[in-house]
Amino acid sequence: MGRERIGWGDHCVAGNCCQRNPFRAPERIPGMWRMGLSFGRVPDEALLTGLTTGDPELAVAFVRRFQSTVHGVALAVLGDAQLAEDVAQQTFERAWRHAQMFDSRRGSVRAWLTTIAHNLAIDAVRARRARPVAPEDLDALLGSMTETPERRALADDNAERVRRAVAELPREQARALVMAGIYGMTAWEVAEAEHIPLGTAKTRIRTGTRKVRALLETEERR
């Protein structure tokens, strides 16, 4: 054991350890029911470290901590419960296989998982069919994303800044941004769905993105 082991890590914070639903009854995996408590304080990166060792208790703790986030992303993009569950499972499998690739300098474990889930969900959408999102679905999602803090607690300050920025956008720009950024729709697909010229769709996506970025930078400087 004289050699140093290859690990991972950097300057990251030990964060995001919330149990999103502590009252949810744990599933019956023998000997594990207490683990939600015992691992509750372990930082996300530590759980990811342990996940690679194949320890079932750590795997349960890891999945339990992030499953509602991962499943929420998949469900929002896909709108199909079965497909969303499949994508959520694939997300954990991919995270487990590629845990060594995690780099805290690029974001949190939760953000990493969210991106994996989103990419897989977009792939699933594109493989299935090109679908213009139903207007009522888009409005419902946009409403949920811009809910005020009193109605929904967000994971961190940055998310709250993004929420405020999106809420300030003109409706048509916010719609275009969500179509592109969440549903992965191209400018051409946005144009088709909104019955607008391609150039207008591109402008809305570009302007919406830049405005949110500008608002974020303004708040970051404060």
Binding site: G7, P30, T53, R97, A159, G184, I205
Partner: protein
Amino acid sequence: MECERLREQGAELALGILPARERAEAVAHLDRCPDCREHVERLTAVGDGLLALLPDAEPPVGFESRVVRALGAAPAAKPRRHRLRLAAAAVAATVACGFGGWAVGTVVEGAPSSVSRRTDGDLREAALVSGGHEVGRIFTHGGDRGWVYMSVELPGTDRGPVRCLLVHADGSTVPMGSFPLKDGYGYWGAPAPVDPTTVTGARLVGPDGSVLATARFPTS
């Protein structure tokens, strides 16, 4: 491609919706234009931020068990062979990280308690102490699937890399790994066999060999 055109397409590129051919041209431009690269990276944060706004949704009952089984981590009644699954990660050149990163702000958890404690199972936790003050935490998980994780904050210390050593009951030390501190903060973890019957503590050692912090695991 000119910078002006890249700036027009930057949002679509950052959101991952630029068609393949245009995307290839844009990426080629970014390879040689740091200003445009920075511009797109800033825009990428918008797409990452949008994902953080999506509402959570509890998966169906049984999901947790199915995932754990799929990971091959189903509980077993007898000791299992050492089987670190690290090799697979080496081939992962393109993990599902979108272009430009997925940076989203992280959250600082409340400060942990300063009391070392023994937790359920083989998980052990102890405070890293320097000059009588807690400066971090170390976690170890025992057994042949063991691992070590530590996070440390030493304000004013930006010298690295620092090394983690486990201390055994006979006084011997075993180097586990090293990691950098940035603005005095860093963390590190790695799979490592940890025998809870012999490992009694840990040391964090600076590049010059000086002991920066120590930890002592509680005895059972």
